[in-house]
């Protein structure tokens, strides 16, 4: 009868109490582990979307809003800048490429992005079917945009101001043609609708004036909506002063990270924002919320450890005669000390295992759900801090056993066996 088997026998002798201890520890551990997995996933996804872009250049205003609206597409654009400002960027020696991006409209919650095909190269996006946009008013759908809207190759739709969720003014006169669908990338590309920057400029040139006077009203009910007609739209837009929402910049040299933002901010009508920096700022802001949840989880774990301490202490009081008899039979004080610690270790390890299974099970379920509904790849793999969590809870479990273990080691054999 080893220390482990006796500890296991004692645990099985009070199954309900032991199960409660394990469940409480498991819940606390699961909450913290799940939080770690979620935060890590969130940070990794933010980083994956932002890593492709060294710098965003757009209208002056909030740099975070500029990044959120142009890199993550979760905020309204700051404003537009004249398209010719792009020449400054294109000619700059520290810039490898500057990808133009024109925003303003959406369709059923999915943003329409006017850009060129190099944007797709940033995220390694590839066509699943069809071809890339070429003529004005041709669009290519991201994987999630296509799945959620139900649009297919050859379908036609009209965009709305903003993200096009509800209530926005509809550009009835400028229906888009779906010419391609992208394969899933697990990045922000999946949730966008792509067209040329010229298309956005055409549509918004008309919308800004609010008179809807253009050469193509007759196309609204035109079943064919031929390419020649789209070309007419583009021609019309050229008459106006085109604007761009932002440029996504890739540096040609690391030195640009230091010098270029200041140069742009001081010498142009644009502002430069670094996605990596803005993400850190964002994470610091939302970090408070995560800290609150984490604190709650820590309270759960501490409560569970206190429960374990109480259970062990009570069990020890009930087993004083057992422990005294073990000493009579030849057990040393050290053996009794470890006997209690091992019992706590078994319960703690079971609690940790339950917690990790719960956390990763929920993460696994969430990953399936998210993939089904949004094609977002969520990993339920280990988070970086989980090993620290495991060791901490294990340490707390041992700590909870110490008072009982010390009492067990110092048990007064004659007094206990004589019923004192």
């Amino acid at each position: 009868m080893s220390t482990w088997s006796l500890a296991w026998a004692w645990i099985r002798f009070r199954p309900l109490g032991a199960a409660l201890n394990v469940a409480l520890l498991g819940l606390g551990t699961a909450t913290i582990a799940l939080l770690m997995i979620a935060v890590q996933q969130f940070e990794q996804r933010l980083a994956a979307d932002a890593d492709a872009v060294d710098m965003v250049v757009g209208a002056k205003g909030s740099p975070m809003q500029l990044v959120l609206s142009t890199v993550f597409h979760v905020d309204a654009p700051v404003g537009n800048v004249p398209a010719e400002e792009g020449q400054f960027l294109e000619q700059h020696s520290m810039i490898k490429r500057a990808i133009p991006m024109a925003l303003g409209d959406g369709f059923r919650g999915f943003r329409i992005v006017g850009t060129d095909s190099s944007y797709l190269d940033l995220y390694g996006a590839e066509l699943a079917e069809g071809r890339l946009w070429d003529a004005p008013l041709e669009v290519v759908l991201g994987a999630v945009s296509a799945a959620q809207t139900g649009l297919r190759l050859g379908d036609r739709f009209v965009g709305e101001h903003g993200l096009g969720e509800a209530g926005g003014s509809v550009h009835d006169d400028f229906p888009y043609d779906v010419v391609g669908v992208l394969a899933p990338t697990g990045s922000v590309v999946d949730r966008l609708v792509f067209t040329s920057a010229a298309t956005v400029q055409i549509v918004h040139g008309m919308d800004t004036d609010h008179d809807h006077v253009h050469d193509h009203e007759d196309h609204a009910d035109d079943e064919d909506h031929a390419d020649e007609d789209h070309a007419d739209h583009a021609d019309g837009a050229e008459l106006r002063s085109p604007e761009i929402t932002a440029f996504l910049v890739e540096f040609s040299t690391p030195m640009a990270a230091v010098a270029l933002p200041r140069e742009i901010n001081q010498s142009t009508v644009m502002q430069a924002a670094r996605p990596a920096y803005e993400i850190q700022r964002l994470l610091r802001l939302i970090g408070f919320g995560a800290d609150v949840v984490r604190a709650f989880a820590v309270v759960l774990v501490i409560g569970a450890v206190l429960g374990l301490f109480t259970a062990l202490f009570q069990a020890h009081e009930e087993r004083r005669a057992d422990l005294a008899v073990m000493r009579v039979l030849g057990a040393t004080q050290r053996r009794l000390f470890w006997q209690i610690v091992v019992e706590s270790l078994i319960l703690t390890v079971a609690g940790i295992a339950l917690g990790l299974v719960l956390a990763h099970g929920v993460a696994w379920g969430a990953s399936l759900w998210l993939w089904e509904y949004s094609q977002i790849l969520v990993s339920f793999a280990w988070a970086d801090g989980e090993i620290v969590l495991v060791l901490t809870v294990l340490g707390l479990g041992v700590l909870a056993a110490l008072p009982s273990a010390i009492r067990a080691a110092g048990i007064d054999i004659p007094r206990v066996l004589s019923g004192g």
Binding site: D322, G330, A331, T332, Q333, P414
Partner: protein, 236 residues
């Protein structure tokens, strides 16, 4: 000095083997629990294989004497040697191991580990005594004491008499050189008291163990010839 004396009925003596150290040898041993001594200047010698009864009224120090012999207590003065070993010279862990490897104790209350079944209780005793699990010895011991039917039974499901026989089996399964029994029959009815007393004597005899029983149970007295009377001459 403790008011004590030894009585030996006219029965065949157990002659000590030449050169063999006695099982128990107390020389002017004074022992207590921190206050006034319970036993004072006690001299007592028990040869190996002898069976002794320690009798006396409550508070006379019968249990204290067993605690001294088991090494739970050390003498404040004098010496207490068990199997030639002065237990006071051993550190606590060594004393624990010495006790586990050489002695077994049967209590008035059985003190079986409730979470373990009967076989596991005996297995635990062997493990703590530093012996191999010895499943055959465990089975044989349970069989000799007539409790083999309860091998998989938990102590809580046994009657008092059955539990006391299991407790006796736990003591015997380690084949102790010295078997101490503290009021082993006090909580038993006549039939069980008779059975347990008989088994104690038989098994100690079979194993060649030295047997020391403390009791004030008149049902047991006549079975043992050698007596140490504590706390009152002739009036235990």
């Amino acid at each position: 000095m403790t008011d004590s004396h030894s009585e030996v009925s006219p029965q065949p003596e157990t002659a000590p083997l030449p050169g063999q150290v006695p099982a128990i040898e107390l020389a002017a041993a004074t022992v207590g629990y921190g206050g006034a001594p319970v036993l004072e200047s006690l001299d007592w010698r028990v040869e190996r294989g002898e069976h002794w009864l320690v009798i006396g009224p409550s508070g006379a120090g019968k249990s204290t004497l067993l605690h001294l012999l088991a090494g739970f207590l050390t003498p404040a003065s004098g010496t207490a040697r068990v199997l030639g070993m002065d237990l006071a010279t051993l550190a606590t862990p060594a004393r624990d191991r010495f006790r586990g490897g050489n002695m077994a104790i049967v209590f008035q209350r059985q003190h079986l580990v409730q979470a373990l079944n009967v076989t596991q209780n005996l297995g635990l005793a062997r493990q703590l005594a530093g012996l191999d699990p010895g499943p055959e010895i465990v089975r044989a011991t349970l069989g000799r004491l007539g409790v083999d039917a309860f091998a998989r039974t938990r102590p809580g499901e046994l009657s008092v008499g059955e539990a006391q026989r299991v407790a006796l089996a736990r003591a015997l399964v380690v084949e102790p050189k010295i078997l101490l029994a503290d009021e082993p029959t006090a909580s038993l009815d006549d039939r069980n008291a008779e059975t347990v007393a008989e088994l104690l004597a038989q098994e100690a005899e079979r194993l060649g163990s030295t047997l020391v029983i403390t009791t004030h149970d008149a049902r047991v007295r006549e079975r043992f010839a050698k007596r140490l009377v504590l706390g009152g001459v002739g009036s235990p």
